[in-house]
Amino acid sequence: MADQILNKELIKPENLVYKKTKILNDNVMHYCPGCGHGTAHRLIAEVIEEMDIQSDVIGIAPVGCSVLMYNYFNIDMQEASHGRAPAVATGVKRLWPDKTVFTYQGDGDLAAIGTAETIHACNRGENITIFFINNGIYGMTGGQMAPTTLEGMKSSTTPYGRNIAMMGNPLKITELVAQLPGTCYVTRQAVHTPSSVRKTKKAIRKALEYQKKNIGTSFIEVVSNCNSGWKMPPVQANEWMEENMFPFFQLGDIKVPEED
């Protein structure tokens, strides 16, 4: 029964309303079931296709779960060392000012080891776009505490919950970069529901269009899940995220260009 495709008569090219973008290849992504990375990848790829900028775009991959993201995109990419993607992107963009350059980084990469590169690229107002996936945990290395781990949240290095007195506070780096004059657009979005996906895609489109205008760094945080790290099934993880992550990491635009 499950193998049967219903309404087969509808399957005609003229009825096609959604298909995976050609900017992603057919490799099966290595992400855990339900992981937001896949959705975030796809949205970036869809915007690249819709803006028709495949031949002008250079992406910078981080170290973290998305270290192998270049295996899934049909675009030129570089793999940076841990945390240095904004510096790598700076090097590319300064010498290719007409290209579209983006980084894609997790919370450990962007907000811990790469804090200096993040802050200074944003402060210089590099005309790049930074995609920041925040799932409050180190996914790749096995669920350790991240700079964004919430107070009381359990991880493999905070097995009794994050104790602020001992381990410091969760870092809202997105609010921090919004303070810098070099950033033009700073927003926090999600990818776990159809409406959040549609909003995030619009934000990605805006960010890449601002880059074309050379008005500074555009920065999109995506609050996402880590089912394996949080030790929950995907649907439950998304519910937990809404209840616990969103009150602290509030969704919405933090900074928009004055003309808008």
Partner: protein, 75 residues
């Protein structure tokens, strides 16, 4: 009056059974299979030919991009 009908094609072997599409479907016509694919995941499928409107919600939340959607007006 013309009615909108849709259908989805799930790339079964690439589905990881996360079930996020199930909750995203406004007409609740996606179920998870009892059988598994080659990787051992239960996969998503359309369970009711009349309920799907081709709204694409399931496809756009799918982290693995395994859902293709078709839609047409039928009389």
């Amino acid at each position: 009056m013309a009615k909108v009908r849709g259908t989805i094609v799930v790339d079964i072997e690439k589905c990881k059974g996360c079930e996020i599409c199930v909750g995203a479907c406004p007409t609740s016509v996606i179920s998870m299979s009892t059988e598994v694919n080659a990787k051992g995941y239960q996969y998503a499928y359309l369970n009711d030919p009349d309920g799907c409107t081709g709204c694409t919600n399931c496809a756009i939340v799918c982290p693995d991009g395994v859902i293709t959607v078709y839609r047409a007006k039928v009389k």
